[in-house]
């Protein structure tokens, strides 16, 4: 192969001009490539953005219309975008967000739109998915849009082995039926975590209180976490009708259930509650004794005076303090008793006396 350039040729001006031209062309091509790439990325960013703005404006106008959305006609510019999965999901997310914020006639219009655009099929597809987070999303969409005809399928998932699916399904039951949604406790075999219990109580808070059907059977459930939750409900909603069932829980084998039962009795006390609590006190752990004393601080009376005086001699200072608190709160001569004790045994009763004076503002 004959290579035409010699060493002397490389230093000729003509060669340098050729090289310069070649580099210039390469730089121009590179710049064109960079601008083309930027243009494509800008298009990829703004096109969904323009769809988003247009779609949200369109649904905002539709939900304000007075008439029903019969024979909904989707504008052609949206129809083609709604065939793409990502834009379809975006549109569905917009409707879900809007439904969470509005109620009344506008909320109903949003549901009409959701059905009219065929999004319910998308939600059902997610519900049927084998992937847990898709299932959760499907449950959430159906529950936010109040699709109660799906309640049977969602109810089955309230005892699913996946905790996220369980939680979302349980939340969906509340969305559909309020207090009635608690019926999943009848079938729950998995544990109801403390966090989920807090969440459920929080969800119940805005609802108007109503009689809780099934509470009595939940208090006898084989699932200990269901029993604890039921005791919390009895406490918060002052369910006097289950007083005897709660008293039965004081004899449960699990310490946490016995403690929760003692706590609940404070809110649903009857005439005999103080005596019942004193009767169970002796056999309890220190933790539960403190809970019982806290409950007695609300329900005790002069009848418990001998028991409480006896407890002032307990070796545990926390139990001494608890008993002293009950005496001061519930017994007519409680303060005099404590003053006398403080004089006889300054340590620890003087400290306990001053502490209670401050705590109870006396």
């Amino acid at each position: 192969m004959f290579f035409p350039l010699s060493i002397s040729d490389l230093f000729k001006p003509g060669f340098f001009y050729t090289v310069a031209v070649v580099f210039a062309v390469l730089i121009v091509l590179l710049l064109i490539l960079i601008y083309w790439n930027l243009y494509q990325r800008k298009r990829a960013f703004f096109q969904p953005e323009s769809f988003r703005m247009g779609f949200e404006l369109w649904i905002s106008k539709l939900v304000l219309e007075d008439a029903h959305l019969q024979n909904l006609r989707v504008p052609a510019k949206f129809a083609k975008h709604l065939k793409q999965q990502d834009k379809r999901q975006f549109a569905l997310n917009s409707l879900i967000e809007l439904k969470k914020s509005v109620a009344g006639a506008v909320g109903d219009k949003v549901v009409e739109l959701y059905l009219g655009l065929g999004f319910k099929d998308d939600s059902i597809k997610k519900l049927d998915s084998g992937v847990w987070h898709q299932k959760v999303k499907g449950i959430n969409e159906l529950s936010v849009m109040k699709q109660e005809d799906m309640n049977a399928r969602i109810f089955k998932l309230t005892n699913n082995r996946n905790k996220y699916i369980r939680r979302e399904a349980q939340t969906a039951m509340f969305n559909f039926y309020g207090f009635g949604g608690l019926r999943f406790l009848n079938v729950l075999t998995h544990s109801l975590s403390d966090w989920q219990q807090l969440n459920l109580i929080e969800q119940l808070r805005p609802l108007d209180p109503e009689p809780i059907a099934g509470l009595s059977s939940w208090l006898r459930s084989d699932n200990a976490t269901v029993v604890v939750f039921a005791l919390k409900l009895a406490e918060i909603y002052q369910c006097f009708e289950v007083h005897d069932d709660v008293v039965s829980c004081l004899e449960h084998e699990k310490e946490a259930i016995r403690g929760q039962a003692a706590k609940a009795l404070k809110e649903i006390a009857g005439e005999s509650t103080a005596d019942i609590l004193c009767g169970h006190y002796v056999s309890e752990s220190v933790r539960n004794k403190i809970v019982i004393l806290n409950s007695l601080a609300v329900v005790a009376g002069n009848a418990q005076r001998p028991f409480l005086i006896g407890e002032l001699d307990n070796a545990n200072d926390f139990l001494k303090l608890g008993a002293a608190r009950v005496l001061a709160s519930c017994c007519t001569d409680g303060w005099q008793l404590l003053e006398g004790k403080a004089l006889q045994q300054p340590l620890p009763f003087l400290n306990i006396y001053h502490h209670l004076r401050f705590e109870l503002k006396r």
Binding site: R52, M53, E56, L57, I59, S60, K61, V63, L64, S94, L95, E97, L98, K99, K100, S101, V102, A103, G104, A105, V106, G107, E202, P206
Partner: protein, 125 residues
Amino acid sequence: MKILLVEDATALLRAIELKLKKIGYDVYPCSDGRQALMELQSFTPDLVITDIMLPFVSGLEVLNAAKARNRKTPVIVFSAMGQENAVEEAFLLGADDYVVKPFGLKELEMRIKRVMGTINAEPGS
């Protein structure tokens, strides 16, 4: 009447904006707190309606800025369920009313009329 409306959920912002415009109000929509603060620097609204939870700058700061501009400007805040502490703080900062999501647009309209009616009824206003 000029209403400064601040809400980060765009579909809700548009729906409220359209509803209020239909009634006859002049609405200045903002999708975040920063934009709202900039608008407050350029004009004094007759009413501010703001969500509490906003990106960049919270609704409480918007409320503060609106009251700093004109103490008598009424402010209505949106809150989600469970945000009682934020609503309490909003009232301490001078909010005049609040609406809990989800709410009906009719309810919002009534609250606007109530708040504006209260202001108009004040002696010397």
